[in-house]
Amino acid sequence: MTAAERPVKAEKIKAPLITITKRDSLPPYRRILIRAAAIVAALLLCSVITLIVTKSNPIEIYKTMFSGAFGNGIRIIRTVYEISVLLIIAVAITPAFKMKFWNTGAEGQVLIGGLTTAMVMLYLGGKVPDGLLIVVMAAAAIGAGVIWGVIPAFFKAYWKTNETLFTLMMNYVAIQLVECFLKIADKTGSNVVGPTMLKNGWFPKFFGLDYMLDVVIIAVLTVLVYIYLRYSKHGYEISVVGESENTAKYIGINVKKVIIRTMALSGALCGIAGLLIVGGASHSISAETAGGRGFTAIMVSWLAKFNPLLMVFSSLLIVFLERGAGEVATVFSLNKSFSDILTGIILFFIIGCEFFINYKLHFRRQAKEERV
């Protein structure tokens, strides 16, 4: 294209093929319809890809996914446990996120909570009664989580450091501390300190079921955080700081205090998550203890629009996809990457459909008619 051509073309400018406008809020039933349509579309696309790539029956794949998550008693318990752990971490980061404090450090906060739990179990286990041991474990985990949360909050409040990078880097510090502990505590060279060494301080079974005490504690905490965010003065302050710091200052909210207090709460909840994972379920600590949940939790929290009660469903969705995908890999002798692709497609549609809830598309033909 030469320079001389340009003005000529400019005169022939057409209305764009698609114009986007912001919607007024949609009635709830239409929102649900759009989301349902997104899931159906995602499943259809997944089916087509499955047929083309693997020649397996997509219905069988979906059945296998369901069986992988809920196929027998062992799987149901494990799935419920995984949902609850992801839920508590999502709930933990939510107060900070509502404040628009982008905490990407949940992974490290959970890990440091788990690490201190494991250290108490190893070094105090057998020396004090188990009941007292669990209390010390809880105190240590919450304390460590609070410290890991407050450090970046303090720097953000006083020196406006970037909290995303800061919390992210704190993850690596936590990972290195865990590696260091593994090195000192275990000399066989395995990458994990597990139940053979952490023999004391195990949470009791709940009605004879493993993990269930964790699930109950997490359910209670989720409800409490929901109430805290929705009905307490603190919750209101968090929303105001999130909307506009200047407004918060104007109405006399101490922004620095709110930032630090909220991150202390976030960190404490993450520390509890670490405590529940190590003391209540795995009785192990390794660099993989948090297992990326600190990052997945961000998605869980966003999908639920920062509503702790709705996070039960988003967390269920993610865990269901994950556990189902693992079973698909086993039964169909497919690489796990294939089920990850399916998971990716489904999440893409679910997140993508939010666009159609918030915006409306106008096509060119419509635009012309409007002009006429």
């Binding site: 062992i74 066989t188 395995s190 139940p195 053979t196 192990s284 993989e288 796990k336």
Partner: protein, 420 residues
């Protein structure tokens, strides 16, 4: 317009280059001999229709380590004509309570045998074995079976140190050839070794490799760099480069699972002795030979024992005789002349029981011959070395339990870093 055309031309040139470079590596005719220690043909027997085996793998087939197990169990499945659903392979199971859940799940699917492939799986498997005495649990590389006293819990490994020794002979002969050709002086015969961790498994392997090399090249010495990871391509490549550049090593071997070291060797044209199977394709101009553990005989054995209602050994150690220790073919473009003959001779001696890798007359520790050494064979979490391992003039590796326990730093081998 001109820019677009130029971009198009450049893009096509790049694509052509890519194609050409891909083509180049595969058009070479392979200069590989037959496998020196081939995988044996196993016997067929009938297995009940309701038999099932569950296999728990740390990673999936993208890791050479896990792939080795997956291939082995699948080859036995095909040999015995088992149906697909009789072999349940669970990949990506971390060393944590997820392993316990997976094992429980496999029990509920009526598996008769449950096998796990990673060292760290052990402590999560044993509780399940205790809870389900009717199911056999087999664990590769584990150390606890002989002290747990559970009739249904078993460990397995292979005398891979013998395979490493043989691969070492091929390396030593190559060094001799380089000395003879005047490329290096006799005292410059320095081998570089990239290890994952400073565990007995790695130390046993690197020492046997070195002793194999020195059995034919008396002036050989070795320098070792550890990466602190079983699979880290960048670190392994970096370690290999440091060994070649800073430590003046003229031949490289490795015990880690990526292609980092073979790739670095091919780039620098330094000969490489590999592990876990042939890496000829990654280094056609530098690959000499590779040793590996073949797990198929073990899967064959445990399925046979269970089918016939017989007990499985608490500790099973595969050998050259069982076909568990295998050697790839020799790359005749790189290996010294007479390598095949020397290897065949040593293999015959191993089979006759006259050759011992850790013969105490062949190495010293801090200048002295070793007459006694207590090894930590019983892994009770106390790190107490309780078992006398030296008898009849040699260190008895993999005899008191299947997993290696030789962890001595002998003279002639220098660790450049021991942080791991």
């Amino acid at each position: 317009m001109f820019k677009k055309t130029l971009a198009l031309i450049l893009a096509s040139v790049m694509a052509l280059c890519l194609l050409a470079s891909c083509g180049g590596s595969t058009t070479n005719g392979k200069a590989m001999t037959e496998d020196v220690l081939p995988r044996p043909t196993l016997t067929k027997f009938t297995v009940a229709d309701d038999f099932k085996i569950g296999v728990i793998c740390l990673h999936d087939e993208n890791s050479t380590y896990d792939l080795n197990f997956i291939n082995a169990v699948n080859s036995v499945r095909d040999l015995l004509g088992l149906k697909k659903e009789q072999v349940i392979i669970k990949t990506g199971i971390p060393e944590g309570d997820e392993c316990t859940t997976t094992a429980e799940d496999l029990v509920s699917q009526k598996c008769k045998i449950i096998f796990a492939d990673s060292f760290g799986h052990e402590q999560y498997l044993i509780p399940v074995a205790k809870a389900h005495p009717e199911v056999e649990f087999c664990h590769a590389t584990g150390t606890k079976a002989h002290t747990e006293n559970l009739p249904n819990y078993h460990n397995a490994f292979a005398s891979i140190y013998e395979g490493r020794y043989l691969a070492g002979i091929a390396a030593g002969l190559k060094l001799n050839e380089m000395i003879k050709a005047g490329k290096i002086k006799a005292e410059e015969a320095v081998i570089g070794y990239v290890g994952a961790f400073t565990y007995a498994e790695v130390v046993s392997g690197l020492t046997s490799f070195f002793l194999g090399a020195r059995s034919v090249c008396p002036t050989a010495t070795m320098k070792v760099r550890f990466t602190g990871s079983w699979y880290d391509q960048a670190k392994e490549q970096e370690a290999a480069n440091a060994l070649m550049n800073q430590d003046k090593c003229v031949l490289i071997s490795q015990h880690a699972d990526s292609l980092g070291a073979p790739n670095a060797c091919e780039e620098k044209k330094v000969p490489n002795v590999s592990y876990n199977g042939s890496t000829y394709d990654a280094g056609p101009n530098t690959f000499i030979i590779s040793s590996a553990i073949n797990w198929a005989p073990y899967f064959h054995y445990i399925i046979k024992q269970v089918s016939e209602g017989k007990a499985i050994d608490t500790d099973w150690n595969g050998t050259i005789a069982t076909g568990s220790v295998v050697l790839s073919g020799i790359n005749t473009d790189v290996a010294a002349k007479g390598t095949k003959e020397a290897l065949d001779k040593a293999i015959a001696e191993f089979k006759a029981g006259t050759l011992h890798v850790f013969d105490t007359s062949k190495f010293t520790v801090e200048g002295k011959k070793l007459d006694t050494y207590l090894a930590d064979v019983d892994d009770l979490g106390d790190y107490v070395k309780e078992t006398e391992a030296i008898k009849d003039g040699y260190f008895h590796e993999s005899e008191y339990r299947s997993a290696p326990y030789f962890d001595i730093n002998i003279d002639g081998i220098e660790y450049k870093n021991t942080a791991f």
